[in-house]
Subunit: 221 residues, 2 copies
């Protein structure tokens, strides 16, 4: 499949690009607001993968072109850019599955709190902002960007997946399963996204308060 | 220490009673609204432990007497009984650490959702209901009662702990560490309780939607 990572130049986009390119047969397309930023990031990812013996070609494009090419389009942008990003690519999403990993959080003193939008969760916000014909799946909310983008770091994390349509959800679960060290779990419909997203501030609070814990993910059993 | 489990006759109280009695040097006191129910449960727990070669004496009392004897008093009652239970034992809590494991949830269709009280979390509700001089610590929110009370089941779960006072929090963390298969993690102050509590409906939704997964707990790493 073609996996387009909108905002693929940083944070979780970086780690997903590197690991999808390294671990799977899918093609990665790094999207950004400018072609130049997309090219810089894709070149850097290719170089880092080549240094580890992985000769992989990584696509690069402005977000709308990346979205047009993607079978799966991941919105790896901060929550406050989510609606604008969807709007900027809305005409290019036909036939794609849109994936929302963003979480709304607010910092208070030395803690981070879940701060969902009025609709209940950022994932549901993405579903509302997307064209009606484009299925939205929530996934990748609880991945620590730092460890994900460190290819020397082993990961063994669960990825709860939410969505209202079984076909698109299956597609995203398969993509997750193709990445080494990630296990996809079905967390139910989009209405269950809030409980998934709320894990992310918890992970940050645990990392803040426990010596030796950082870049945390989660495992359910 | 003396560990009083108010509502220790069922759900999470059962598993905590059995495992604290089996794994630690602490004394367990099963509290209930009637002395008869407390006695029936304590007798049954003693018998189940004896069947496994653990000759342990388990205390039993009505909730107020159990609270009076407890160094640590665990409110192992459903969220909707929490305030009434605290009120019924408020005069007996001086010098104790009060532990709140309850989570507010609501069921909608085939999903479960986090449903916190207006104050933000059930743990903070307990803190507000408790006498000012009694420290409240949130813990044990994410334990699956079924697996916890099955002494043949191995567990390897994390227990995020929230509280605003370091001494009482340390006491509860030590109790947790004394139970085989549980790891206490510091999740920060009481204001962070909501993100901890919200994991519980997620665990239920994951168990509902994934074949072969049930009685789930969580591990952070």
């Amino acid at each position: 499949m073609q996996i387009a990572l909108l905002g693929g130049t940083g944070d979780i986009g970086e780690g997903l690009a590197l690991r999808i390119a390294r671990d799977t047969d899918h093609d990665v397309i790094v999207g950004s607001r400018t072609a130049e930023k997309a090219t810089d990031a894709a070149d850097e990812y290719e170089s880092r993968l080549a240094d580890r013996g992985h000769e992989v070609s990584i696509g690069r494009a402005e977000n709308p072109e990346a979205a047009a090419r993607g079978d799966v389009v991941v919105l790896s942008v901060p929550a406050y850019y989510l609606s604008d990003t969807i709007e900027s690519v809305a005409d290019e999403l036909e036939g794609s599955v849109l994936v929302s990993p963003a979480v709304g959080m607010k910092r208070e003193d030395d803690s981070v709190h879940y701060n969902p939008p009025g609709v209940g969760s950022v994932t549901e916000l993405a579903a509302n902002a997307a064209p009606d014909s484009v299925p939205v799946v929530g996934a990748f909310h609880n991945l620590a960007a730092g460890r994900l983008s460190n290819l020397d770091a082993d990961i063994d994390w669960d990825v709860p997946v939410v969505g209202d349509e079984s076909g698109p959800k299956r597609t995203v679960r398969q993509l997750i399963a193709d990445i080494d060290g990630l296990r996809a779990l079905d967390a139910g419909g989009l209405a269950n996204a809030a409980e998934v997203e709320a894990v992310t501030p918890l992970l940050i609070n645990l990392a803040t308060n426990n010596d030796g814990m950082h870049d945390l993910g989660v495992k359910f059993w």
